[in-house]
Amino acid sequence: MIANFGFGALLITFVVALYGIFAAVYGVRKNSLAWVESARASMLLTFPLLTLVALAIIALLVAGEYSVQFVYNVTSSSMPLYLRVTALWGGQSGSLVFWSWLMAAFASAVTLRKWERDREFLPWVIVVALVTLVFFLALILFFENPFGRFWQGANGQELVSVFRPAGATAITPSDGRGLNPLLRHPGMIIHPPMLYLGFVSFVIPYAFAIAALITGRSDDRWIRVTRRWTLVAWLFLSLGLVLGSRWAYDVLGWGGYWGWDPVEIAAFMPWLSGTAFLHSVMIQEKRGLFKRWNMILIIMTYSLVIFGTFLTRSGVLSSVHAFAQSAIGPMFFGFIGLTFITSLWLLLHRWNDLKAEGQLNSLLSRESLFLFNNLLFMGILIVCFWGVIFPIVSELFTGQRVTVGPPFYERATGPLFAGLLFLMGIAPLSAWGHSTYKSLGRALWKPFIFSLLVLAGVIALGVRAPFALLAFWLVAFTASITIYEYARGIAARSRRAGENIFVATWRLSGRYRRRYGGYIIHLGVILMALGIIGIEMFQDETQGMIPKNGSLTVGDYTVTYKSLAEWDTPDGRNVARAVLDVSKNGKYLGELYPRRDFYYESQQPMTIPGVRSTMEDDLYIILVDWQQFSDQAATFKVYHNPLVNWLWIGALVFIVGTMVAAWPDKDPEAEREKVPARARQREPAKA
């Protein structure tokens, strides 16, 4: 019953979306406002309709309707309610529905904005958003239907179909297969929605860009309209990436947070092009440069978003995240090719309209530093893309399949990331147009001296590796510039307005959200860099079998094995849990409990590390092996991860900064922001 209802709603959504595309195009041709309004209404309607579809699936999941194939595949009776609900994105077809539902939410939200000033964009935004949605709905309807049910055919064969095939009888399995235990983790439950939100919200700026290309409006209106959308998309994508890393660190038990897995890279690539886009649109707004480049970036980001969904969902690449192979791969490939080529064709069509309104004057100007920033982001993107496609390319040309592992990415992207970090420090100090070495030097010398002091301190602490020293110096340099700039702004305001520093900080950040939100984001990135340097360059590990009351030493830490116990839990697990005492330089710190859960139902073990986390470092212990029915000895792997906590703290700061920058404003200040910036006085001159 519910399945039929959901299927019906899905079918209606598909028809409504198709109608919307048609109505929008027809409305433009006939120059009829009524048709365009009708298209707008149908786009608005897709969200409530898809909500019904998603609710129908959730109802089936919660009710445990195992006659439905999707429900059977992702849930079982032993799963608690919240996992049954979130199982919606635990399998292929459900996650496609979920993607479409989010997409429809964003598309509907767009229809509700005020369109007076950009009427001509509306029909084309509708077309782009709905074409994307129709593609996903078609995949769900024709290839990955979540409402398919099990039937026993007349000849005894098993069938999956939404409606009863002639002469078939329904089969209802008594229980489902359940969700993979590795995915039953809070990080894994919110990681996919965040990533998907990031993916789908990038569709909106793309839709506006294409609308601008089609209507031939060559100003930066599309960028101003979508600035906040882009920031929100970027925020969710960043959140998704960070949560995924945290899950890997907590659950996968290899002491790391990022493995350069192809699917990780697939989610990282749109983030890279999106970040480049966020920076380079500022140049178009302020100086009218990079118009074509911005178009290329947003088109690329859209294609990479679909490519990312394709990689995670098609099973072309074997990876931590890949679902089973399915027929939808070629469809994705076709869709990406089609949209990419169409977009590029439109861009070439408007190439001459998108002439820059000025030119780059000086290597030291803010715009040229942003250009270099873009080059570096593109460099990292190319490294990632090369790594992902290299096996295919090498097979094509040499017949030999050759792949590259994490060391390739680390080696190739390391210097590029370092370059970005450096630019992140000096670019905000440079002026638009051009700055002189003298003025830059004036702004830089204090932070530079400070960073040298930090470097001396690091050397005094015993660090000698040249790359590590360079990395620490870069972090110190960039951090002190950023903080110094922020502090100077606060001090100036505090003096001028007579406010105390807290009020001044609050008002300043509230008034120039983009600038100071940006500084906060940069600070977050610097802290994350600190964490990454710590774990990548200073990770220490040791492993071994420890007899009872014996010890293992890593860094300043000593871990002593005390005992081990095994027991069965009511939810079908066997738990083996070790108790270890941790001490540092002879001082007792507490106990850690690394454990191994064995899921009887799935015959699958899961390793849960015991972690002691401080600002300074993490001690991360994995229970590797033990003797059954005896706790005389057990084998452990112990990691010492210095500074890694700053990775997560930095991520939080980063997210706060993005929220500051994206916060909607209602004050007249914001209205001024919307006036083309070039027509007004530049921001208060800096340095």
């Binding site: 595949n73 399998g91 292929q92 297969r177 359940g178 969700l179 993979n180 590795l182 995915l183 996968l252 790391g256 009218g288 074997s318 990876s319 931590v320 995240h321 679902f323 089973a324 192979q325 309104e357 000025g358 030119q359 780059l360 004057n361 000086s362 290597l363 040229s368 270099f372 080059l375 570096l376 460099g379 190319i382 490294v383 096996p391 030999q400 399949r401 050759v402 590259v404 592992g405 060391p407 390739f408 990415y409 080696r411 190739a412 210097p415 590029l416 147009g433 492993q543 071994g544 079998m545 191994r596 799935s602 699958q604 073990p605 390793t607 590797v624 092996d625 084998t635 792997k637 070039r678």
Partner: protein
Amino acid sequence: MENAALARPAKQNRSKFIIGGVLILAAIVYLIVSSTQANAQYFSTIAEIQQKNPASLKRELRISGAVLGDSIQYDAQNLTLTFTVVDIPADNKEIEAQGGLAAVLHAAVEDPTRARLQVVYHGVRPDLLKNEAQAIMTGKMGEDGIFYANELLLKCPTKYEEAVPEQSGG
């Protein structure tokens, strides 16, 4: 622009930009090429390794095979893992044609005529290492005809719809 003179940069400026851009591009190309060369891993099947002279297999290899359950030995004292893998096709299409990964792994383990290879790995014993699991290994062939893996990933065709995550070691 507010200043017409600003819009026309001097010639030497343009060449500065070109030099700067070319330098960055050259750096990126260098990084990619040199990192690729330094870290290339060559896909190979077990049958291919057996046919070639092991001495010629000096380079970093990436191979995949079906784990033979009875052969797994783990020395927890020294964290030394040894096991035998059986040749399976490397091509996804071929695997699909033979009835999917699970069927291919099962057939390989049951067939004593297939090429086999002994593997040694130092480290934590992965949770998913069991009979008829697919092992994906990176490492080098030793003079003794044993494959010394420095990275070991495992995949099991399970009852879950999604592939079980690989486990990384090494």
